[in-house]
Symmetry: C2
Subunit: 248 residues, 2 copies
Amino acid sequence: MTGWVVIAGIGPGNDAMVTPEVTAALAEATDVVGYIPYVERIAPRDGLTLHASDNRVEIDRSQHALQMAAEGRRVVVVSSGDPGVFAMAAAVFEAVEFGDPAWRQLDIRVLPGITAMLAASAACGAPLGHDFCAINLSDNLKPWHVIEKRLRLAAEADFAMAFYNPRSKSRPEGFAKALNTLQETCGDNRPMIFASNVSRPDQAIRVVPLQDAKPEMADMRTVVLLGNSQTRIIPGTEMIYTPRRSDL
Amino acid sequence: MTGWVVIAGIGPGNDAMVTPEVTAALAEATDVVGYIPYVERIAPRDGLTLHASDNRVEIDRSQHALQMAAEGRRVVVVSSGDPGVFAMAAAVFEAVEFGDPAWRQLDIRVLPGITAMLAASAACGAPLGHDFCAINLSDNLKPWHVIEKRLRLAAEADFAMAFYNPRSKSRPEGFAKALNTLQETCGDNRPMIFASNVSRPDQAIRVVPLQDAKPEMADMRTVVLLGNSQTRIIPGTEMIYTPRRSDL
């Protein structure tokens, strides 16, 4: 029996956004590991063991997955959205590099998924329709001054922006600081989009002019998008898009 | 009969990456419009008319789709990858804004897809596993100095980067200029990834140190990824990842 690890993106929440290759990998798996709410999305069946773990134990979870694969099991590591965007893929490769050298010979594959920013963008039009960046606002793994610098440079580059993990209970002040920076640096009233529970029945999309955005509009279940200087709301509609053309 | 327009992402090429909601929309459609090679991916059937058009006619194609929907037809506009990333969604909304005011009342939905950069990232590990940006290197719709400025600011921000449309026959010099800028501004030998025909049987992934990258390694069917200053290749493997942690 040959083991493997598949790091699979299960999209933002709606099963109609899970790709067939991810569904096929789950059907072949002996074990699924992941953060509790993501593992809860996987249907139990005979021969499949579900290993749900808490947040912030990404390396432990990765080591567990790799160890099981080394023992011949077929392991799917589930990530919300896309595993390569602020999710489990980088954690698994970090665990490979600094773990048992035998793990480097394992069959490890990453299966992409619909990441939250693209589902949110689709839900309100095409706000990321021109050059854009994606920034993780969590300062668990990087100092705040790095985030601050990136926000200023992204504004100067006139990127549309997507923000993951904007706000947690343990550090509610981060997003307030980010908003201040963006309001000052962008200096205009481009649309900011707060998208919660994207693609789920309780999806909520709130659009406000940047200068009216408030920290409490976001929590950790929100992905926040910000247009560039040219982003438009089509008059009389709720459709938002960033033009393909830039004449700046 | 009520018409609609769905702007659907059909992923980078492998049908196993097409989401079920996109497949369902195609099953309900009366008409599919899109660029020739993307429409060729749609299986013909009774009751479905395929309208393939050439590149660079995005607004004409959008107007055609909207007009058919206004006449009660069920139209899927197909985009490779994700429709919101350098693809048809922004073009359709531009056509709505500047077209027949009645089009603003149409049922228009965007269904996300697996965009090329995330499929390419998955194919080689997790090179976009930290903050990153996506830049369209085509200068059809923006002046070169805007691209140049964004490259410099993205390097200063230490974003990992994804480049779409790096090189065409009509303007082969653009990517050479971009490479020069990146080689000079980044000043290191982080991995650059040239991913062609991602997810297809003829997928080709080539990884070179940034200073060894050459313009002819890319064409319009290539998506190019560049790590940030911390991106690593796990020794003895071909796995590339950008660490989640940043201590800069």
